[in-house]
């Protein structure tokens, strides 16, 4: 089983304060910690579990600046065999469509049975790249995948629908499967893994290596142009209860009392 895993190096924003960059078209990232996109962490885990069971190789691939090698190294330390980083000044401003085109050029001549990625990224949340890539490669796909069973020539997958319902599908291989969080328990990186990762191959490829033209990628090769970013307007603001923890607790209890909830 040869598996390619597409990952993204993203800023962790769930617990961080976010400010808009002076360009008005991005956020300030200097103080943010970057790591593997949460969904992709489940994808790399799923790939390594399959490799441990069935043998084969896991190749991890990303589009991103040098800093993104941290995420690739992390995947290598977890057990991936090879890594590829796709980078070029011309890739700046690529949306999901342009990103998928870059990945397509890098992947189309590689041997693989399966491509795994996360259903979406925690930063821009397009939930598009994997599916566009599958269409460009001419292979079937399934997204929101919560369970994968590999069979002879196909994968039996559970797709997560709304309200606790799942849809079981059979998808012919080779295929692209975009996983949901919770599909497995991503492992931590071991010291031994980090040491081994240093020896593993990490290839860097650019526009020319991939046979791409400048107008196919970056802003000119994208579907979407960001016109502006702003902090969402507050339509219904919560009344903020202030004070020390005990004062706040007292205020909450007053509110609950008034409503007969305590």
């Amino acid at each position: 089983m040869d598996i390619i895993v597409c990952v993204k190096h993203v800023p962790e924003t769930a617990e961080a304060e976010i400010a808009i960059h002076s360009s008005g078209k991005g956020i300030k990232t200097e103080d943010l910690i970057f790591d593997i996109n949460e969904w992709d962490d489940y994808a790399i885990e799923e790939a390594i579990l399959m490799k441990e069971k069935l043998g084969g190789t896991v190749t991890v691939i990303t589009v991103g600046p040098e800093d993104a090698e941290k995420t690739l190294r992390k995947c290598l330390a977890k057990g991936a065999d090879k890594a590829i980083r796709l980078t070029d000044n011309a890739f700046e401003g690529s949306d999901a469509y342009a990103t998928a085109k870059i990945l397509h050029k890098a992947i189309k001549d590689l041997p693989f049975n399966l491509i795994l990625t996360g259903t979406q990224a925690s930063d821009d949340g397009y939930a598009q790249v994997g599916v566009i890539l599958a269409e460009l490669l001419g292979i079937p796909h399934a997204t929101m995948v919560k369970k994968i069973e590999l069979k002879e020539g196909f994968a039996r997958v559970n797709r997560e629908l709304e309200g606790g319902l799942e849809q079981v599908m059979e998808v012919k291989l080779p295929a692209m499967l975009a996983v949901q969080t919770g599909i497995n328990e991503p492992r931590y990186v071991s010291i031994m893994g980090i040491r081994k990762a240093r020896e593993k191959e990490l290839k860097v490829l650019g526009l020319g290596d991939l046979g791409l033209k400048e107008e196919e990628v970056g802003a000119s090769g994208s579907w979407i142009t960001v016109e502006g970013m702003f902090i969402p307007p507050v339509e219904k603001a919560a009344e903020i209860l202030t004070g020390g923890p005990d004062e706040i607790a007292a205020k909450i209890v007053e509110t609950l009392k008034a409503r007969g909830l305590v």
């Binding site: 309200g163 969402p232 919560a238 209860l241």
Partner: protein
């Protein structure tokens, strides 16, 4: 006249809410831009559903085929690429759901039509759509434009547009012969799988204490559990807690979990991604505790506490105990 397509989403014989939300949005757009509103319905034996759509659109295009009975992106894409190529709608709206996420990106790629996904608003500037999306877990909004084209696809976030009743439009129902000629070779729908019901029904609780990523470690759960017990509440949670295996999936509030409407929803360390908020926003009273003042949960809460939950939760537990003892 140029059309505006709304792709009807249905499951097991029922139209999904997102369909009506899209139709509401589309009615406004079609009036503004002079586009004909067309609902597109793919399925098998969907006459009753078609009638419901006819009230809300000028035209309903129906493709009835056994291969379209349950959602299969491969079959749906084949039919839709045919319909869009024939009708050339200026805009096709699809729900940003498990259905739309699986369908829209490959459809747009095949047709070479620009796509914007997970939009919370869409409008036209001239003939060009302008969309609003949320990024970074709902902390930032993006206004974006799409590359100039003759046709566009936009997926709309569910539970974002309030459904408004319209006077019945009495739209014409047009049955189109299925363009599916051959088999669907790559993807097969097998069955639905219902996650087994757990021991606890969080939808029946009057008070929910709901916990999120902010508790950092499973070791901290008992602290929240204690608060819930003292409040006479049931413990629920947001998705990351289930993903990590700290609580079973029957405790999950949100799009992929349960929709709840308790008298009190106390959100502890929950940031408030839209998937979560859409599952609890109709609660009578929402109090949120989160140390990040910008957390989207505060937009869905009546009262907010911007503080470290590890300080507030024990203080609150003690205060309630005090009150209970004295009464």
């Amino acid at each position: 006249m140029t059309e505006l397509f709304v792709l009807a989403e249905h499951r097991r014989g029922e139209l999904r809410d997102v369909t009506f939300e899209m139709l509401t949005k589309a009615r406004g757009l079609s009036q503004k831009t002079n586009l004909d509103l067309t609902a597109v319905l793919l399925g098998q034996n969907v006459k009753e559903i078609a009638k419901k759509l006819a009230d809300q659109a000028k035209k309903v295009l129906v493709v009835d085929d056994a291969r379209l009975k349950d959602f299969n992106a491969e079959a749906y894409q084949k039919v839709l690429s045919h319909l869009i190529s024939e009708h050339k709608p200026l805009l096709t709206l699809v729900g940003h759901t498990a259905f739309g996420i699986d369908l829209a990106p490959s459809l747009a790629t095949e047709l070479n039509v620009p796509l914007a996904t997970d939009c919370i608003d869409v409008d036209f500037e001239g003939e060009k759509p302008i969309v609003v999306r949320q990024v970074y877990g709902g902390k930032v909004n993006v206004k974006a434009s799409l590359r100039t084209s003759k046709s566009y696809i936009v997926t709309l976030r569910p539970a974002t547009f309030e459904v408004q009743e319209a006077k019945p439009l009495g739209g014409e129902i047009l049955e189109i012969p299925s363009p599916l000629k051959e088999d669907i070779p790559y993807k097969k729908f097998v069955e639905y799988y219902e996650t087994p019901a757990g021991e606890v029904d969080i939808t029946a609780a009057d008070i929910l204490v709901s916990v999120g990523r902010g508790i950092k470690d499973a070791e901290n759960l008992p602290m929240i559990q204690k608060l819930a017990e003292i409040l006479g509440a049931v413990l629920s949670c947001s998705r990351p807690i289930v993903d990590k295996g700290w609580l079973p999936s029957d405790r999950q509030v949100g799009t992929s979990g349960k929709t709840v409407k308790p008298k009190l929803y106390l959100a502890v360390g929950i940031s408030g991604a839209f998937q979560h908020v859409s599952g609890m926003k109709n609660s009578d009273l929402v109090i949120a505790i989160n140390k990040d003042s910008k957390a989207p949960i505060f937009r869905a809460a009546d009262y907010g506490v911007v503080e470290d939950l590890f300080k507030v939760v024990p203080a609150l537990t003690n205060k309630i105990l005090e009150v209970k003892k004295s009464s």
